[in-house]
Amino acid sequence: MNFLVLTLIKAALIAGVLVTTLAYLVWVERKVLAHIQLRVGPRRTGPHGLLQPLSDLLKLLFKEGVIPKQVNLPVFLAAPFIAVALSLTSIAVIPFGPTVEIFGVQTQMGLADVSISLLIILALGSLSVYGISLAGWASNNKYSLLGGLRASAQMISYELPMAVTLVAPLLLYNTLSLREIAEAQQGFYLGVVPRWGIFQMPFPQIFSFILFLIAAFAETNRIPFDLPEAENELVSGFHTEYSSMLFAAFFTAEYGHIVTSCMIGTLIFLGGWNPLFPGIGGVVAPTVFLWFFAGICIWHAMQPARKLDRYTLPVIAAILFGAGGIFLIPAVQPVLVPLFWFLVKTGFLVFTFIWVRGSLPRFRYDQLMKFAWTFMFPAAVINLLITALLVALTTK
């Protein structure tokens, strides 16, 4: 098939799925946070609040967009676009699976297979600070300016440890292409332990993974590092003056960053689309997993906590059961099984982001800076030196 047509179809598919996922991520976050705090979360709009993202979107669309008088208009309007464009572009170079054949067409699962994809992602990530700091400056408001300043200082500080932590696993894989990185993690040690980045010999990159996650929290401005927006001291910081869809743009950008960072973490440290279990185990695991959750839904439907659960949970169970069945069809397995592993690992990391938000309080600003320069950076450098030494000793 024509390369252009194929790319357009893939781009439309990925963009659609990504934006829907981002909208539902808000729902997931609210639900998980609610359950961490022993509440139930959104449940009025649609069954289990599943229509909440849609109603949020409608609300934001029809809200009046207030633009305060004191703002610097061109920069004020450009900032949310910069933020959302940079955050959503990085998905273009992320591979979701190996090269597959769909309807007789060979294609890579992912938009563009670039030889320096990791560098491109780092570049887009380093540019993304402009959206936030310009928004803070253009709002022409003390609190917003402080938020913007904090964002730029924080992002510069945490970019450095992040880049240094990413170099260590790259020494093991010898490539900057995310597809080749994932391919370098195929196979198992002793037939059981997967050769993922966090287990890979000669130096398992577990420390580097932890440092990467911490830096990713800071880069995405999430709790415990959400100083740029700190509601109680800065009145939401850089986006105080934004309303309606402009505000939604910052929200989308933040969730887009979370998803991209989690995908990078999955590809570099958690083996990308390579399964956790060897042989047939990796293939049937999706079915077992989905049927297990279907079972949980049925079990809860038997003893409903709320009246409606008796009707909604069996429907969800049926959907999960059917999805598990699809994974058993041999024809679709080469496409769906790698995709499943990739999405499950990414989903787990996204869940970690929400989980941490529910568990940790915010840092103080001096603590944040001190942490970056006196712990993160030296730790990243030491990890890099040890990895480099072991790689140099073990390669012939």
Binding site: V75, S115, I116, L119, I120, L122, A123, G125, S126, L127, V129, Y130, S133, L134, G136, W137, L145, G148, L149, S152, A153, M155, I156, E159, A163, L176
Partner: protein, 168 residues
């Protein structure tokens, strides 16, 4: 296609560069500089220097310019005020010096690049990946590389000494 992209981004780079000088608000000037850096990165990419292109964006647009922006915001500088009555010197020799500058540039381009034996063809150069750059850097250009790193180390030490709080 490559020529078209080249023309677009060359134009954007020059327009941003002119805007950088013409604008009187520091933030807008800084943003124009970011535009120049990013268009230059695209030009590098067109010439096959992928690694340089990515580094250009990461280092210049993503780190150094953010630092500039940070300082400008921190000082909260407003619009530059225009000094009334330019100095006589700039009025007299401004235009002649500019013309000489343009002439020298035009002469050098004409001399070295227009009738060159091997004209630049987009996509001809493939040695710009990280591997090739790294190999060159650690074999052929090892001495300049190490000298630069020592220079940067000295600069860092100087910054630390200058920024250190007096303890007494």
């Amino acid at each position: 296609m490559s020529a078209l992209i080249f023309l677009i981004f060359a134009f954007v780079a020059i327009a941003c560069a002119i805007n950088l000088v013409v604008q009187r608000h520091p933030i807008v000037s800084a943003l124009s500089l970011v535009g120049v850096m990013c268009s230059l990165a695209v030009l590098y990419l067109l010439l096959g220097a992928e690694f340089i292109a990515a580094t250009q964006v990461i280092v210049y647009a993503g780190a150094i310019m953010v630092m500039f922006l940070f300082v400008i915001m921190l000082l909260n500088t407003g619009v530059e005020s225009k000094v009334p009555g330019k100095s006589l010197l700039s009025k007299i020799i401004g235009i002649p010096v500019f013309l000489v500058f343009v002439g020298v540039i035009a002469y050098l381009i004409q001399r070295h690049y227009v009738n060159a034996e091997a004209p630049v063809i987009f996509g001809n150069f493939t040695g710009g990946g990280p591997r090739e750059v790294g190999l060159r850097l650690f074999t052929q250009y090892l001495l300049p590389f190490e000298t630069t790193s020592i220079l940067i180390l000295i600069a860092i030490l100087g910054a630390v000494v200058l920024a250190r709080k007096e303890l007494d």
